[in-house]
């Protein structure tokens, strides 16, 4: 697994050894609520948190079933003490739900918390079609209800408040086929979370949350708001993709990353994707103790110092440029082109800015300081030229 191959030497050139200070609200694992597991299980203390007003109490480590193809991993996860399992109708075209259903059909239904997700097609679908999709999910899961049904992959307000889908979710809840309804998000998360809170409809949020968001104050505020409003908050993508570079030569210390996410008490549980038994055992240790040791703090700090391709949208650069260039938009365009290999999107974004093909040429030097270490001038000079390429050449 990635964390076991983590090599600190990958990061030594960065030269930073500062300790972490980003999890301001972190509470030590020793002060967390712990429960003795059932007597037939091992005698380990596990940290539990409650998913907001749902009242669902689960270990802080749950399981994303998505990539598991072996029901024996589900079995091992259940036997080790994991109680919340997350799947989706779209995973393996429904086969993932089938596997979950096949394994859990012999387990008392009230002993596990099952969540699934429905993603309407890009062109949209009616309330009835949404409900049909969900009924298919229940059939595959061999269950009469799920504990949480998410509207899958919300990245904008219009989508998560689309009356066709909100009506479907309300009906599902009223029918008892889902105990609680939620929305999952891995883009534009703070906005989606705030909208979900305001809607007074959603009860659970499933959101990307990892150490790369340490300076994202909007995200922290949104999580706090959701927590205060009584929403359950489930974290995902805690390992930030497991690698920091496109070449996959700089692995993330996954255990440290998981601990970092869980050191924020606003994250009630996480759903790391478990695909092997070693990973399961390692992740489960975090359910007993999420305190970062000094080595782990150092590893994450070094990883955070890595200058990657991704603009975190912190807006620190706003107002710094004497030419008043829209730097966040340009950095985002750079990310689309080189991070996502999506030049058409980069072209569209740059074209809308109405800049020259070399907007930095009149500046003798650059005074903009990016907290993530981007060479802003170099990136602008590089990406602004894309507008010279005819749009129909790009995809």
């Amino acid at each position: 697994m990635a964390n076991s191959t983590f090599n600190r030497r990958n990061f030594l050139f960065l030269g930073a050894t500062a300790t972490l200070g980003m999890a301001a609200q972190a509470i030590p694992a020793s002060k967390e609520k712990k429960k003795k597991k059932n007597k037939e299980k091992k005698k380990k203390d596990i940290i539990y948190r409650t998913l907001g007003n749902t009242g669902i109490e689960v270990p802080i480590v749950s399981m994303g079933v998505m990539r598991a193809d072996n029901p024996n991993i589900l079995k091992a996860a259940y036997e080790i003490g994991i109680r919340h399992f997350d799947t989706a109708s779209g995973y393996q075209d429904g086969r993932n739900e089938e596997m979950v259903g096949t394994y859990f059909k012999d387990i008392p239904r009230d002993q596990v918390i099952i969540s699934t997700k429905i993603h309407p097609p890009k062109e949209g679908c009616s309330t009835e079609q949404f409900l049909e999709k969900f009924d298919q999910s229940l059939k595959r899961l061999q269950m009469s209800y799920v504990d949480i049904l998410y509207l899958h992959a919300g990245s904008d307000v219009a989508y998560i408040l689309d009356p066709r889908y909100t009506e479907a979710l309300k009906r599902v809840k009223a029918s008892g086929k889902a105990r609680f309804i939620g929305v999952s998000t891995h883009a534009n998360m703070a906005t989606v979370i705030n909208a979900a809170v305001d809607s007074k409809l959603y009860e659970v949020i499933l959101t990307s949350y990892n150490f790369l968001m340490k300076d994202d104050t909007e995200m922290q505020k949104a999580l706090q708001r959701a927590n205060d409003a009584g929403l359950g908050i489930v974290g995902m993508k805690s390992m930030a993709g497991r690698y920091l570079d496109k070449e996959k030569k700089k692995p993330v210390n996954c255990m440290a990353a998981l601990k970092w996410a869980l050191s924020n008490p606003l994250i009630h549980t996480t759903i790391p994707g478990l695909t092997n038994f070693e990973m399961l055992k390692e992740n489960w240790k975090v359910a007993q103790n999420h305190d970062l040791d000094e080595t782990e703090k150092g590893d994450l700090q070094l990883a955070m110092n890595e200058v990657g391709l991704y603009c975190h949208g912190c807006m620190s650069c706003s107002g710094q440029c004497p030419q008043d260039l829209p730097i966040p938009d340009l950095m985002r365009s750079y990310m689309y082109n080189y991070g996502y290999s999506y030049p058409a999107k980069a072209h569209t974004t740059v074209a809308k800015l109405n800049l020259s093909h070399n907007p930095c040429e009149d500046c003798p030097g650059c005074t903009v300081a990016c907290p993530n270490g981007f060479d802003v001038r170099e990136r602008i000079t590089d990406i602004a030229r894309i507008k010279m390429v005819p749009a129909n050449f790009l995809v």
Binding site: N72, G94, P121, T275, G339, Y342, V389, V395
Partner: protein, 279 residues
């Protein structure tokens, strides 16, 4: 370096041709002619969280084209998985065991509004809405014709042909690209389920470039299971796996065969004989 990157922007559309996908013109259907292209870095924008699974099957690119006719929409997604084994793998893992297989490319299945098939390096998923309103249009026929443009004579990966046909449960032959049985050291494998004497047995085949790789794997498995077998030799080895139950391994050169879920070792041995006889 910057120049190289910049030039790659201009050349990028040419790679669409290089991938050998030519979407057809459908008489009576409207299309804006645009093909959406996704790669490893942005596949999630199209299929969200499911993208990780596709990436584990060697995903290289996805091309999506759409047509419209009288309010009916037709979308074709062509996933390029780099080689026939990975394409078959992702197809096999998404296929329901209840699927009725029909000839389209290597094979395919579908219903009134969807059709999936595999052909060479490509896994193709066709979706439609309200297709019943379009008289005379058959998803199956469309799929079969389109498949020929992708790969004229698709063949099953060689390893699939090693599984005996007798007692084989339909649609259970699957390729797992990593961490087979949840064990990182086993890596990739092909598996299939058999009904034998009331039991459901899973047979698997692991193929590696040389014997030494298999030997290393066997030693790791013995160590993982904390077994006391010393100096294992080629032949049958019984492993007490703490999570997967009793596993019967058969080591032959650069192949490791195996079975789980059995109660009668003799029956399993005869199944394994049928595979090892072909090696």
């Amino acid at each position: 370096m910057r120049k190289i990157f910049f030039i790659s922007l201009i050349l990028f559309p040419l790679s669409i041709w290089a991938q050998g996908v030519v979407f057809p013109t459908l008489e009576g259907w409207k299309s804006d002619g645009k093909v959406q292209v996704f790669n490893k870095d942005n596949l999630y924008e199209h299929i969200d969280g499911a993208s990780e699974f596709y990436l584990s099957y060697g995903f290289e690119s996805l091309q999506v084209a759409s047509w419209e006719r009288d309010g009916t929409e037709l979308t074709v997604e062509v996933y390029d998985h780099g080689d026939a084994l990975h394409a078959y793998g992702i197809y096999s893992i998404e296929k329901s065991i209840k699927a009725e297989i029909v000839p389209a490319g290597l094979e395919g299945y579908g219903d009134a509004s969807t059709f999936n098939f595999v052909a060479g390096n490509f896994y193709v998923k066709i979706n439609s809405t309200k297709l019943d309103k379009v008289a005379g249009f058959s998803l199956k026929s469309f799929a079969a014709a389109f498949a020929k443009t992708l790969c004229l004579n698709p063949e099953y990966p060689k390893v699939i042909g090693l599984f005996p046909k007798e007692n084989l449960q339909p649609n259970t032959c699957q390729y797992i690209p990593t961490e087979f049985m949840g064990l990182g050291f086993l890596g990739s494998a092909v598996r299939a389920k058999y009904s034998l004497n009331g039991a459901e047995i899973t047979l698997f085949i692991i193929e590696r470039a040389d014997r030494a790789e298999i030997e290393k794997m066997v030693l790791k498995y013995i160590s993982y299971a904390e077994d006391k077998i010393k100096n294992p030799a080629e032949g049958d080895i019984l492993i007490k796996d703490p999570f997967n139950g009793t596993v019967c391994l058969r080591w032959k050169g650069n192949y490791l065969l195996g079975a789980t879920g059995f109660s009668d070792q003799k029956s399993v041995a005869s199944l394994l004989d049928k595979i090892s006889g072909k090696l």
